[in-house]
């Protein structure tokens, strides 16, 4: 089956010093040119099949949100290729992207910042419909908006309210409704539940899964919480410092995790059953700065099993078992 989204060798850099003057710095009495580049994503490749949920997990600063934003071209990729439904969208112009924008929609993390406070909820939904021409008249758009709002659990009489009149969970429902408005087939959800209370989080996760069943969406799901990911994903990747260190199906990653970083993530998760986290091995240290990536394997500075080789050579991605990819010298 053809993949809906295929990403190869994706790279994303951010230059912190955008103008020429700020690149100059005095060092030992001499004026030198210094680049300060954050290497957020370094050669990431993955694919998402139709009606599949692909998740990317990792800690803050690992580049997972940057991948999401680059894939939908909210950020211009600095390298690599993005194929959507077999078509290369890596360097399409703004107008060239338009038909794809309709098919790819995004749900953002912060339901407070991602809705325009001056727009009524109904307008938030009808604007993209009218823009993309999925409806013929504003009356039709209004009708459709109410229908979608109803589907996500917002009552029709609430449609003329402003975002600040809703709770966090309701706002996230509105954010989901906005993504649904133009009838997408691929949804990028960037930490959609991490800002919500646990009981609301469960409601939103259930809603996302119900919608997937109903409309057979594909999701690219970004999360930092492995237990949330386990709940919803078909396939997933674990990211660390801009690289995917382990990638595979849910059964691979949760049944047979191999990369030392994946194992460390598992042992760090607090569980209802208690005691695992407190007795487990501590992962020492912190994530190195993406401004100054360590040579060799990006994880060697914190890895409890690092070999001398790890400090020098970047591990290649290997297929350990069919569909289970790993970048580690230990295997």
């Amino acid at each position: 089956m053809a993949k809906l989204l295929e990403v190869t060798d994706l790279e994303q850099y951010f230059d912190l010093n955008t103008d020429f003057l700020s690149k100059l710095a005095f060092e030992k009495g001499r004026l030198v040119k210094k680049e300060r580049i954050v290497k957020a994503v370094n050669g990431v490749g993955f694919s998402v099949g139709r009606s599949e949920v692909f998740s990317i997990v990792g800690e803050s600063g690992c580049g997972k949100s940057t991948v999401a934003r680059t894939v939908v071209r909210l950020l211009e990729p600095k390298g690599g290729r993005i194929l959507y439904d077999g078509k290369d969208i890596t360097s399409l112009s703004r107008t060239g992207m338009l038909p794809f924008r309709k098919k790819m929609q995004m749900i953002f993390q912060d339901p407070y910042a991602s809705l325009n406070p001056r727009q009524r909820v109904a307008d938030i939904l009808t604007e993209p419909m009218l823009f993309h021409g999925v409806v013929r008249s504003s009356a039709e758009a209004k009708e459709k908006a109410l229908e979608i709002l109803n589907r996500v659990g917002i009552r029709p009489e609430q449609a003329s309210r402003y975002p600040h009149q809703f709770s966090g969970g309701q706002r996230q429902r509105i954010g989901i409704a906005r993504a649904l408005a133009v009838g997408p087939e691929f949804i990028v959800a960037d930490e959609p539940v991490s800002a919500l209370d646990v009981s609301i989080q469960a409601q939103i996760l259930n809603l996302l899964m119900d919608l997937k069943e109903e409309f057979s969406f594909s999701y690219l799901f970004i999360a930092h919480d492995l237990s949330v990911v386990k709940h919803i994903s078909d396939n997933l990747a674990v990211m660390y410092l801009g690289r995917m260190v382990e990638k595979g199906s849910k059964a691979h990653i949760f049944g047979n995790p191999l990369h030392p970083y994946t194992l460390a993530l598992f042992s760090a998760i607090p569980r209802i059953s208690g005691t695992t986290m407190r007795t487990g091995r501590n992962l020492e240290g912190e994530i190195p700065s993406a401004l100054d990536l360590p040579p060799g394997c990006c994880f060697h500075t914190r890895c409890p099993r690092a070999l001398p080789l790890c400090r020098e050579v970047l591990p290649e991605e290997k297929e350990i078992e069919p569909g289970h990819f790993l970048s580690c010298h230990l295997y």
Binding site: V198, S199, A202, N206, P270, M277, E286
Partner: protein, 336 residues
């Protein structure tokens, strides 16, 4: 039983706003023993942070501690003068706040901020204070304290800042630490580091801790006893395993079921329906009745009192859940 360090009786903290009074903490009583970690759990708006702040009288206008006794080592904190409370804060009871970005002063060095606490609460001289700062940073796992003490908060990562906040909280060797969502802003691997650190420090010195959090999984790993709070009231309290494994209040059960847990594999999460009620307009009777799957008319008319189910396990529910042979059964006793 270990002896009691802190006992709270009938604490009420209300916020008087233009829209009316919000009963953020409404008549709660609990105690903390020496060497014990007590958790306050619940969703946002449950009153757990306000409870924490009330204990050291850090409640500002329009909030007022309406009534109650806060007995710390037998002394009632409510009856102390402002100066006496000042001597208590930081020295006897210290606090760790949620956001390490905002709880440190950006214009002072880390060293000065740790030293301040020592200056206020101990009689060490300058040289001893410097040594104590080193030891504190070392104990919270910050390497080469020499150069770190001269650094400013912005030069630290979130996890490091939270370590510094913990170091400050521990500086005067307090008897009770109130930690308000200490790891919510941190990544999981860093969270695990910090939680292990806090548990070790508390246990090693037989200190007590009140852990305020919304994360039941963190609580199961850390706490000895749990208070589950909903709408300003304690709805269930007891030993950690009793509350988690034999939770009797439908709200506690709902919270546990709505967490995706690695040990369980389910296709759908059991969510609690609805949202936390508006605090200006609390429902009649049981606050949880509108969201409860098994509420009856009786629940919406009568407010349940806390009653004892097992040893030290209390629940405020007319129809507590009972676990029998691993199956949940609704008890049909004493309805009215």
């Amino acid at each position: 039983m270990n002896d009691t360090l802190l006992e709270v009786r009938n604490l009420r903290t209300y916020f008087h706003t233009f829209k009316g009074a919000v009963k953020a903490v409404d008549d709660i009583s609990f105690s903390v023993g020496r060497g014990e970690i007590l958790a306050l759990v619940g969703e946002s708006g449950g009153g757990k942070s306000v409870t924490g702040f009330s204990l050291i009288r850090l409640i500002e206008e329009p909030g007022v501690i309406e009534s109650g006794e806060i007995l710390f080592e037998g002394r009632d904190v409510m009856k102390l003068s402002e100066r006496e409370v000042d001597r208590l804060r930081g020295k006897e009871i210290s606090m760790i706040f949620q956001d390490p970005m905002t709880s440190l002063n950006p214009v002072y060095t880390i060293g000065r901020q740790i030293e301040e606490s020592l200056l206020l609460h101990t009689r060490l001289n300058r040289e001893e204070r410097r040594k104590a700062c080193h030891e504190l940073l070392h104990s919270v796992g910050i390497s080469n304290p020499e150069s770190r003490l001269k650094a400013y908060p912005h030069q630290f990562s979130g996890g490091m800042r939270q370590r510094v906040v913990i170091a400050i909280a521990l500086a005067a060797d307090p008897k009770l630490i109130i930690a308000d969502e200490p790891t919510t802003a941190l990544d999981v691997t860093i969270q695990a580091q910090i939680l292990r650190l806090m548990a070790d420090l508390v246990r090693a010195k037989n200190r007590s801790m009140i852990l305020v959090t919304h994360d039941l999984a963190v609580v199961s790993e850390m706490a000895d006893r749990i208070n589950v709070m909903y709408c300003g009231k304690i709805v269930e309290t007891g030993a950690t395993r009793a509350v988690i494994d034999k939770s009797a209040h439908p709200y506690t059960r709902g919270l546990i079921d709505s967490i995706p847990d690695l040990d369980r594999d389910r296709q759908r999460l059991k969510a609690i329906r609805g949202i936390v009620p508006n605090m200006f307009d609390l429902p009649k009777g049981c606050n949880f009745a509108p969201r409860c799957a098994c509420a009856t008319e009786f629940c919406s008319a009568h407010e349940p009192e806390l009653r004892e189910l097992g040893v030290g396990h209390f629940v405020a529910c007319h129809f507590p859940l009972v676990v029998q042979n691993g199956e949940e059964v609704r008890s049909h006793g004493e309805t009215a």
